[in-house]
Subunit: 401 residues, 2 copies
């Protein structure tokens, strides 16, 4: 939660409704030929019109220069310090495939890998073994039994899987077993604190059995584990802000993140139109909605400038419907930038619009990185977005007499 000890004192429940539209990977960067970013190339009549009536600015997800993963990017937008509430790789991988991780359980990200007859790593990813071949192996691994704990293995794409250990007294401070290079043997998992000794022992037992289960194979005959982690102790977003928050997201990872901060995760379909249907049907039941739009990030990660432009234009076409639903405060934000020219997440600040009955426009003429930079909100930490949304929705009382 935002580092402001008086947040509960000043939050006041009201009937007004907030929609936080998170456009995943929203920010971009100019392409080499046009000198224009994806947002500047795209034809966005509806987002431009919204920008002309909104308060505009640019958010910094973590720190200038720091490229956030999806976890920190979203946690910051929900108002949580993304450093303090950093989630481990195992946890995020688990919730990303819809695992209902419980308090105290340890999740780790696993790779199927290939070792030679002497146990020396020859391929850290087992030739990126196809999912059709790796899934049955994950099922074999899922049958492994280790005394005193429950072991669950879930297949992910290609060589990846998730392992979850459930039991008593499992700490998360355990070293990874991937030496990050071939030519040497996988490392033994070591506990870094007394409280994690059991986890390290369990991990060693699991790895030993995995070697026996897979050992007859030529490839994918061993496992590497990293990102041992458990759920962080997260304040409940609804209690902190005195909201009844709901999440509408097609992708499991974002549903998982929302659930972890205490949002009610609404059933929805695979498309943004499905998400808008869900919003329309549930508008009466909550006062805050996290609405997730994924395609902009996917196109950016593919390095496909035109596809990202198209994804933004597809979103723009749905803005009139979104606005017609009549939320009192509409925030358009991004968890991070994903410039197609980089083909990856980046550290660049992310355009932000806050629209309410109060906003009359900042003189900003359209929705883009450069235009939002001139808005009244200036550059602000992404952890401030929730505070602005609450303020515009009349949900924050005066601080101090």
């Amino acid at each position: 939660m935002i580092d402001f000890s008086h947040i509960r004192d000043i939050c006041q429940p009201t009937s007004s409704k907030i929609v936080l539209l998170v456009v995943d990977g929203l920010g971009g960067y100019p392409g080499p030929n046009t000198g224009k970013s994806e947002l500047e190339v795209a034809s966005l009549p509806n987002l431009d019109a919204l920008a002309r009536e909104s308060a505009a600015g640019l958010t910094t997800p973590v720190l200038p220069g720091v490229t956030p993963g999806s976890g920190p990017g979203h946690m910051a937008l929900f108002g949580y310090d993304p450093v303090k509430y950093l989630m481990g790789r195992g946890v995020l991988e688990a919730i990303g495939i819809g695992v209902d991780l419980k308090d105290g359980e340890i999740a780790a990200r696993g790779n199927l890998c290939t070792v030679d007859g002497q146990g020396i790593l020859v391929d850290r990813r087992a030739g990126r073994i196809p999912t059709a071949e790796s899934e049955p192996l994950a099922k074999l691994l899922d049958q492994i039994e280790v005394p005193d704990v429950t072991v669950s293995v879930y297949p992910v794409r290609e060589h990846r899987f998730v392992v979850v250990f459930a039991g008593e007294g499992l700490g998360e401070s355990v070293t990874e077993t991937d030496p990050q290079t071939t030519g040497s043997a996988p490392l033994d998992p070591e506990s870094l604190s007394e409280g994690s000794a059991v986890t390290a022992r369990v991990a060693r037992a699991f790895i030993g059995q995995a070697r026996r289960v897979l050992g007859d194979r030529e490839v994918a005959n061993m496992v590497l584990l990293r990102g041992f982690s458990r759920l962080p102790d997260l304040p409940d977003m609804g209690k902190a802000y005195k909201l009844t928050p709901a999440a509408i997201a097609a992708y499991p990872m974002y549903r998982g993140l929302a659930q972890l901060v205490g949002m009610e995760v609404l059933q929805t379909g695979a498309t943004f139109d499905d998400e808008l249907d869900t919003l329309e049907q549930n508008l009466g039941g909550h006062d805050f909605f996290f609405l997730h739009y994924k395609p902009a990030d996917s196109a950016g990660e593919d390095g496909d400038f035109d596809a990202k432009v198209a994804a933004l234009e597809a979103l723009d076409a749905r803005i009139p419907r979104l606005r017609a639903l009549g939320a009192d405060t509409l925030v358009v934000a991004g968890d991070h930038s994903t410039p197609a020219v980089m083909g990856n997440h980046s550290w660049h600040p992310v355009p932000l619009l806050v629209h309410s009955g109060l906003t009359k426009g900042d003189g900003v003429e359209g929705f883009s990185e450069r235009q939002c930079a001139a808005g009244s909100l200036g550059r602000l930490p992404a952890t401030s977005v929730m505070m602005l949304a609450l303020a515009h929705a009349g949900k924050l009382a005066k601080f101090g007499p």
Copy 2:
């Protein structure tokens, strides 16, 4: 004091003089018809000229989205973390009417209220009883005696009063007695910490006697207490910055705040012209002056756009006289925004000008929210204003070798 542990190492006394003009409720917001804010509508030739020669920016008093009361707004401008040094409602109400509160004393804000024959609240404000009727009741309450402590009751406007308990071992963690709704009895004051048990006992005794003193009346026959608080432990501003700071403010609350941070409070009259006279007469005696201008906030709180424009224009007319007094560094700042369209304090960033012999203008053509947003100072926390003032006045040495 600003969170910079080396502040005392780099502050250096010089003969240069700083005037910090705090325009209460300075920032505004565009009206629905013109799309222009109070500052943009007002004719401000002298402030515009000052802006063209100054470094300009926008301050955030507490955090984006957080609307500050007068206390946090001013504390931030004096360089004090407004969260760490938050003052309670009782303390601020007491200093607002000129009570010379001492260390260890507990102040609470009181309401005269009306209860029925069964002691059930029927009016939390006793019909906003006129001051002429409530003042004699405050005098009756002032005669209440509670063993081991001195009780003092001071009338405020209408149904309001302040009660101060002086004695040994009085903590401030006591719950309010106002149930915030009619139809139930006033609550008992409860201590929230062991160190506040005496205060809770004293408060109960005071309330019991108040009921007997007032009980024969039809209305205003009971009291509600809230905001139990004592003076925070405040660093001395003069020592921290190596200044001889003085305050010139017509309103008691701002004089009280200045006194709490260690400024010498100069006698002055009721108008800004009186304040300028006081500044002129005392310019030789101090190197820092906090000069307070109240009318902009009052008009904003009344929701009177035109009156706020007029208040700003009246200030503008006095800027030539202020500049002619020849302070080396003149800062024009606001404790918070008070947009007339909201009729209340708001969270919006506040215009800032820093003028010294060094400043030559930022390309900013006038004094308004939008124009200051484009200034060289950018957005900065209000706690940084004192540092900039000191720097411009040559009172900050280099940090580190």
